[in-house]
Symmetry: C2
């Protein structure tokens, strides 16, 4: 019987591991709750109406259909028994493994305030992206209908919490929507009057980047009408706004649209894994793996990507980005191949390929070789476009995304700005003029 490899999660880590096992003498099962791989780095463009869900998602079965040693199972993993070496699924019989790769990724993290999730959605899934799109677009629609100036202002105030790459991308795209996309679309309101606030607890935006790049990013944001509010801490979020704390004291911002880009933690399965194996996890639920990306003492269990914390040679954890997950996935696959041949395995080594972050049209920052080489502006933006296009999984998607970008760039229109989903249940009833008010209006 062939060596049974089970991979949990079809994100960057899991998918790259599966593909790197092509042709290996293993029996591979990739388990995921969803039937597609999601290209997270472009998810914010779905949220801002630039791309469509199918542009950034790839059916896992299609990606692995020609890989004869692989099968895909659409299921949710509920538990693990590391002694009998099997995982339990919510709607299918248990699955035995000889090697397990845990690549369960991350979820939004509200630092103990999970009740904020309802009012400040994060950006981790396709559903959340379309929900955010719904909220952003509906806010302008509601403002167009709102006779009260204060309420209108709250509808036109957008708060993005967290000024890392995702927060900067979202805020920049919001600036473009307000200033370019919707400029001529309304009759009562002027979308350019929107306020877009980017909040962060640190003293600069894009803090993982060099200070000089943070500065140029902030300048680009200002041009897009985004105001960065730094050194502030969010202390409350509700349907009508956020409460913030800064050196100037406590303050409240009335805003009907609050987006969360402040942090992620590992998805829940790592806690179960920790309970069953005794593996240590950090505060974000990430499993502390050894130099081989294994649960210490369990060479048959790899934990990779956002599900793990891997301490680099400099003593700092590796960044929670796609390249880390891809490299760890490919590494785990290689380790399995070597073990099957009885060869020795080298510890995992992370190759820092550099970092990119986009702010808006023709505006991005880039740094390479641990910051020794860096630049911003048009060239960084073109590089960003190129890199993201190349990493899209299929040629079809590369072509379609390229075309959409071309149109968006030249017409500033965002073709995918659809308000879909349960419009009635989601936002409308609570946000509409109340029935009494309506009756009043009507009776006049």
């Amino acid at each position: 019987m062939a060596h049974r490899v089970v991979i949990i999660g079809g994100g960057f880590g899991g998918l790259y591991a599966a593909r790197a096992l092509r042709g290996a003498d293993v029996e591979l099962t990739l388990v995921d709750r969803r039937n597609f791989h999601l290209f997270q780095p472009l998810l914010y463009q779905v949220a801002t109406g630039e791309l469509s869900p199918a542009d950034v998602a790839f059916p896992l079965r299609a990606v692995l259909s020609s890989q004869r040693n692989a099968r895909v199972l659409l299921s949710e993993v509920t538990d693990i028994d590391p002694v009998s070496r099997e995982i339990f699924l919510d709607d299918a019989p248990p699955l035995g493994y000889d090697t397990l790769i845990v690549a369960t990724g991350a979820k939004n993290h509200y630092f103990g305030n999970d009740q904020w999730a309802e009012y400040a959605p994060g950006l981790k899934s396709l559903e959340e992206a379309t929900r955010i799109r719904h909220r952003i677009l509906y806010a302008f629609e509601a403002a167009e209908k709102e006779p009260d100036a204060d309420k209108r202002r709250a509808w036109l105030t957008f708060v993005v919490v967290g000024a890392g790459p995702t927060g900067v991308e979202l805020a920049g795209a919001l600036g473009e929507i307000a200033n370019d996309t919707l400029r001529c679309d309304f009759r009562s309101i002027n979308p350019e009057e929107s306020r877009i606030l980017l909040l962060d607890g640190s003293d600069r935006v894009l803090s993982p980047f060099l200070p000089t790049l943070s500065n140029s990013a902030e300048k680009s944001l200002i041009k897009l009408g985004v105001r960065a509010m730094l050194n502030v801490k969010v202390t409350g979020v509700d349907r009508y706004g956020v409460r913030v704390n800064s050196a100037a004291g406590e303050a409240r911002i009335e805003a009907r649209t609050v987006l969360w880009a402040a942090g992620v933690s590992a998805a829940d399965f790592t806690r179960t894994l920790s309970n069953r194996t005794g593996a240590e996890i950090d505060r974000g639920g990430r499993v502390k793996v050894d130099a081989f990306c294994n649960v210490p003492g369990r060479p048959e269990i790899f934990v990779i990507g956002d599900a793990c914390v891997f301490i680099g040679p400099d003593g700092k954890p590796l960044p929670g980005v796609a390249p880390t997950a891809m490299q760890q996935g490919a590494y785990a696959a290689k380790a399995i191949r070597k073990r099957l041949k009885g060869e020795a395995i080298e510890p995992f080594r992370y190759l820092d390929k550099g970092s990119l972050a986009v702010i808006g049209r023709a505006s991005a920052v880039a740094q390479f070789f641990e910051g020794k080489f860096h630049f911003s502006g048009l060239f960084a933006w073109l590089l960003w476009l190129f890199v993201h296009l190349m990493y899209l999984v299929t040629f079809q998607n590369r072509l379609i995304v390229f075309i959409r970008w071309g149109f968006n760039y030249t017409t500033m229109n965002r073709g995918a700005r659809l308000i879909t989903g349960a419009i009635d249940k989601d936002v409308k009833p609570e946000d509409a003029i109340s029935t009494e008010e309506h009756a009043e209006v009507r009776s006049t």
Copy 2:
């Protein structure tokens, strides 16, 4: 003050009316519940994973953004007062009109069995399309996991109720999914073993077409693995299948996926309109309009498209298709312009441009000049492709749909086959192996 025109509904009728009023000396408001125009004829391709929602939907504001006399209001119309000439909205102040165009379209019609809607979704909205996509794709996933042969067979049985153009399109696409798209994607099941049943009460498929075209359509369907069951009446639908009645008596078909393409009726607003104005409606809720598409006796209210029934010169009602709505929309706009100038208005005349229906790859039927000229096969299919591409609202969508079709045709892959939405709430819990069964499996 300019003449106030209010259009309810941004479908083919409403949008064509709005665009035909470009430059007219009117103050135009287009009210719609959704912020986009939906290109219904390609909606089945969203349901079958060939296209993405944004490919067939166009933001209304973008379409009308350069038309300075027009504004768009995202709202739901709840009532009308034909005396004071105003309509009431669910979340905004009432709207007065001098001329009203009711273009509220159609909804699924279950012939008095609305409880079937839950088990047999129809295909009228983007949400329904993604829900149907979810169901179709999830059925194969569930079959892959199902150890019981009978249950697996029920997951792999697809019933389409109604063999008009929409039913034939859906059944044909299902045949292609089972035979081509998913052929190599699964390991436990063989998608080619799926049964696809197309049910209709009449004695042939595509009954609005010539009998010879119905025959060739049925032959094409058989090649795709679709079995047409004719002269049968559906007498029951539940989560596990349908009950049918035919000359052979009562029978039950176990099927976990049932799709409804058997009929539409006018959306609810026409009943309100009828109550308030005394306008007559037919059994499908369609307003019986006069020769000018007006509510009889109310020249200031037009009812067009699927919201109305218009008796043609042959004494038969016009077909409920997009060209009827477009022509009536353009006619209403022209009538308004003429009235403003004090000119006489000609009655509406419908121009039959012919009919097309697609079955699958390189397979369609076409008839023109009231059936005097007709053909089927590759050329009809190419014509269908061309016509549908040309009627897409924007050039960007034409290009993207063209590319997707090109890839689908050459690779038979359907890039948009994503299972999105509330997978947990929608299908899974009831359909999953029950907890007891699971516990049993586990304890062995």
